[in-house]
Point group: C2
């Protein structure tokens, strides 16, 4: 049986937008929204059923029982230090890289509620498919966060701060670095007056294959084949930019060293 929670949101960025609307759609009630920029809190409350934009961080009279901080990583500690909660309330942050211990101070029940997805205002996210990683200081809080997470997503995992850090680094490789490889690719094409769109079908098929059979089995290309002549040609082509040469060299070497492993 579902339990519906009373929730307040601290923050008004992309995570706050997507999360608060998904929470309402799952039947929970959003009471207050706080944002350092009050007009942003107001903007968000207009998209919600009955939430109020609150101009201060004293929530001691709030009806909410769970407070979700969806603020930038480097603001978590500072904002947390100013928040006043009702007795027994739970406070969580939503960050992949910040340990639970950053929520210090007078809170009795702290946790992490990390939706492992990238959010932007423009694109809708099906929250049911988004892995939610939870962590809590005590079992009772963990159970409540688990209930809350399961009301949103089929993929709820208990992951502690140390493992979440490893996961975050893995995500940097799989997302930020893959994106940067595509950015470099686009610059190289531009230089040749060719359109990045040319590569899109190949990129889509490559990623699909990689996700389908696993990246270890999906690799192709000159480094995997140990085709040193082509690698030399490519290094020579890239000599106009030493940093691109270095990136090409270290990744190719790593592919060579780990092929067949």
């Amino acid at each position: 049986m579902s339990k519906y929670f009373n929730i307040s949101i601290i923050g008004s960025g992309n995570v706050a937008w997507h999360l608060s609307r998904a929470l309402e759609n799952a039947g929970h009630t959003i009471h207050e929204v706080f944002s350092r920029k009050h007009s942003n809190a107001k903007k968000l409350t207009r998209k919600l059923y009955s939430a109020t934009a609150q101009g201060h961080m004293d929530f001691s009279k709030s009806k909410a029982e769970i407070f979700i901080m969806a603020v930038p990583d480097n603001a978590i500690e500072k904002i947390a230090s100013k928040i006043k909660l009702p007795p027994d309330a739970i406070i969580v942050h939503t960050s992949g890289s910040i340990p639970i211990n950053m929520l210090k101070g007078s809170f009795s029940n702290t946790g992490v509620f990390y939706p492992l997805q990238t959010f932007s205002k423009l694109s809708e996210i099906n929250f049911g498919e988004v892995p939610i990683l939870i962590e809590a200081k005590d079992k009772k809080t963990e159970n409540r966060l688990s209930q809350l997470a399961k009301s949103l997503s089929k993929a709820v995992h208990r992951v502690n701060s140390e493992d979440r850090k490893g996961l975050h680094i893995a995500a940097v490789f799989a997302c930020n670095f893959t994106n940067h490889m595509m950015a470099i690719s686009g610059w190289l094409l531009n230089k040749q007056k060719l359109d990045f769109n040319l590569l899109k079908p190949l990129i889509i098929e490559t990623i699909n294959k990689s996700l389908d059979i696993g990246p270890d089995n999906a690799q192709t290309g000159p480094a995997l084949r140990g085709d040193l002549q082509t690698l030399d040609h490519h290094m020579d082509y890239l000599k106009f930019d030493k940093s691109l040469q270095e990136i090409y060299r270290v990744i190719s070497q790593h592919i060579i060293d780990h092929s067949g492993s």
Copy 2:
């Protein structure tokens, strides 16, 4: 109006399989298939309407007018040197990284017919969406290759050998290197006893966003934010593997140096 060509295929790998069947579906006739391993040529002909597996490279009596070499890059020169063609026939290779001049010898009409896609036996490819890059030594050959390519795909481009080399390097970054970033990500998750599947929704959303708004606009993460503290933590986490540290360092530095560019 469509012109249907008489074609023979040299090679029996993934490109040969997908290409010969797409050519038949577009109305062309495949006459002979040659493979260094005769049994592979036979296997492919069984999937085609009326092609014969030929055990030698003397095609001087063939009815084909276009000969398509779909063989590994490093075999192109050697195989080409042994092929005998009928007068006026066209010979092309299908490689992204080999210049047209590799087709030396007694051929009068040479070209390149490069389908910019990754092929595997298991997954069907919609050839209509695959960019085909053509190049030819003379205008008449180019026109015929263009006709042939347009019968298969909406995306036909004339690209010379030098530009094709740049494109190939761009593809190494956008495909081989992105795949390797995902491989590393999977190893890091394994180390933490976490499942690569956890990251799939995030990877899919990241790639979609990157292809949608362009990788330059889609970047996120600690390097882009100039979050040196997180970068330090990540470098520290990766100290068990110097080569991963180096990859993390050079790519992060490159993101920092090119953010906002």
